[in-house]
């Protein structure tokens, strides 16, 4: 039934096309069509493109019609220049005062790179690994988002030969039952490298046994470095040193 209706409609459409083609053969009709098409194109051009062109033209006219600058006594100008120079120096000092004089670390979590600075000078840089943005869901109630936080942090603690106390998510992720708070299976030795620097809230800068993943977002929120970079940073940053993560 549907096919029959479609066939009928198609036949009707063919008749209309045939009729309109026959009408087009008439030169008067053809002229009208041409006029219509040209007018439509002109209308579309005037609506879409002409305003932009006119705007640019009007701005160029405005640029050339700007009045000349005022004239002033050269002595006054020289004095003013001196005064502004002084203000600029003072402002520069104020702006520069925000930059820490000692070592600080900048971490780019998009590129997974770190930059160690002392004052305005970059002294070391390399690859690191930051949060994977993986959201682990265990039923309705338990959710963990493995993301490295952004902003300004300070080094809150420094540890040699750190031991990793595995949190609950580490067991959930491996499909293992979560043990009690101080169960021996929670403690892993050597996986965090030789040093760890704490940023607070459970986030660490530490080493890794997965060095092939450096430069990629694979961590649970911590910042992983290779052994040499970690040592350099451990030695350079003091407790209280600033770490900027973006």
């Amino acid at each position: 039934m549907v096919f029959f209706r479609m066939h009928k409609a198609f036949k009707k459409l063919l008749v209309i096309i045939k009729q309109s083609l026959a009408a087009e053969l008439n030169t008067q009709h053809l002229n009208r069509w041409l006029k219509g098409i040209i007018l439509t194109i002109l209308l579309i051009f005037s609506i879409l493109f002409l305003p932009g062109l006119l705007q640019k033209f009007s701005l160029n006219v405005a640029f050339f019609s700007q009045p000349d600058s005022m004239e002033a006594d050269s002595l006054v100008v020289a004095k003013m220049k001196q005064s502004i120079q002084k203000q600029i120096t003072s402002l520069n000092n104020k702006v520069n005062a925000y930059t820490p004089k000692s070592y600080y670390l900048i971490i780019n979590s998009t590129r997974n790179e770190f930059f160690l600075y002392k004052g305005k000078n970059m002294v070391h840089h390399g690859k690191c690994s930051t949060g994977s943005y993986l959201q682990l869901e265990n039923g309705e109630n338990q959710k963990w988002l493995f993301k490295t936080p952004k902003g300004e942090f300070r080094i809150r603690g420094k540890t040699k030969s750190p031991v990793w106390k595995k949190p609950d998510w580490a067991f959930v992720e491996e499909g293992l039952p979560v043990p009690s708070e101080n169960h021996s299976s929670r403690f892993e030795y050597g996986v965090l490298g030789d040093y760890a620097l704490s940023l607070g809230y459970g986030y660490l800068i530490h080493g890794t046994i997965y060095q092939r993943f450096l430069g990629l977002p694979v961590t649970h929120g911590c910042i992983r470095l290779n052994d040499d970079d970690l040592e350099k940073i451990y030695q350079s940053l003091e407790i209280g040193s600033k770490v900027f993560i973006y």
């Binding site: 879409l48 006119l54 701005l59 405005a62 702006v95």
Partner: protein
């Protein structure tokens, strides 16, 4: 006979009406930049204290250059009071700087692809006023995912865990454009340098569609609200794709931008 004459009148009236509408449409849109220039000038001159303090700087081009540097530093200092990431765009040395409490965290070089003639048409005193304070971002349009979150269900046992090991995905780095709308309807657009692959061309077309939409929205705002000029002067810059991503992911929702000109 009468019918033919009335038809002719109808055609004439319709033609005149269409012409009048078109003239109004073109005039109101074409005059928008000029009206905006005048509007900003009026706003600046209304601040008599500012004019008094700064009008002398127009006496000498060297003095004006110094005044520009001072304005940029002053606005950077104001920016340092905010405790979130912000942008400092210096058009003189072509750098976009991601700033946090006054410290430059990332500095990226850019190349200007398009600078609206509107900026050259601004009077120097208006420019000083316009860019001597941080400008607030009021919208962003981008192809970049702010937080590329991947959801994973916890495995039931160790065998399922072994089968669902998460492999780091480096392919989520889609082509990047970033359109930032700041105060005074200024648009800052950051584009990646090359658009060669099929995916890149697809994103490029989307970018063009958004730009056209923004342009036409300005046109129609002018038509329907003729008393306020709607014009969005735009600066388009091309820079490293990863740096655009880093900037966008670092910026908070209501970020601030300072422009050194």
């Amino acid at each position: 006979m009468k019918n033919r004459q009335s038809n002719r009148y109808l055609k004439l009236v319709t033609g005149i009406l269409i012409c009048a509408i078109m003239i109004y449409y073109l005039a109101i849109i074409a005059s928008a930049p000029q009206r905006k220039l005048r509007h900003l000038e009026k706003e600046t001159l209304a601040d008599s204290v500012f004019v008094l303090q700064h009008s002398n700087f127009l006496a000498d081009s060297g003095l004006f250059e110094l005044a520009k540097t001072r304005a940029f530093l002053e606005s950077r200092l104001l920016l340092s009071r905010s405790d979130s990431f912000s942008l400092a765009i210096n058009l003189n040395d072509s750098t976009v700087n991601l700033s946090y409490k006054g410290i430059y965290i990332q500095s990226s070089k850019f190349e200007i692809l398009e600078k609206d003639p509107f900026f050259d048409a601004l009077r120097p005193i208006v420019m000083l006023k316009l860019f001597s304070t941080p400008l607030a971002v009021f919208y962003e349009k981008t192809s970049i995912v702010k937080e590329p979150i991947v959801v994973k269900k916890a495995p039931k046992d160790t065998i399922e865990a072994m089968n669902s090991i998460f492999m780091p995905d480096t392919l989520i780095q889609n082509p990047a454009y970033l359109i930032i709308g700041i105060d005074h309807d200024i648009n800052i657009i950051m584009l990646q340098e090359k658009w060669l692959t099929k995916t890149e061309k697809k994103v490029w077309n989307k970018y063009l569609r958004i730009r056209n939409r923004l342009r036409f929205s300005d046109y129609f705002k002018n038509v329907f609200h003729p008393f306020k000029p709607h014009y969005s002067p735009t600066i388009v810059m091309s820079m490293d794709v990863n740096e655009i991503r880093s900037i966008y992911r670092a910026l908070p929702v209501k970020a601030q931008v300072v422009i050194g000109f």
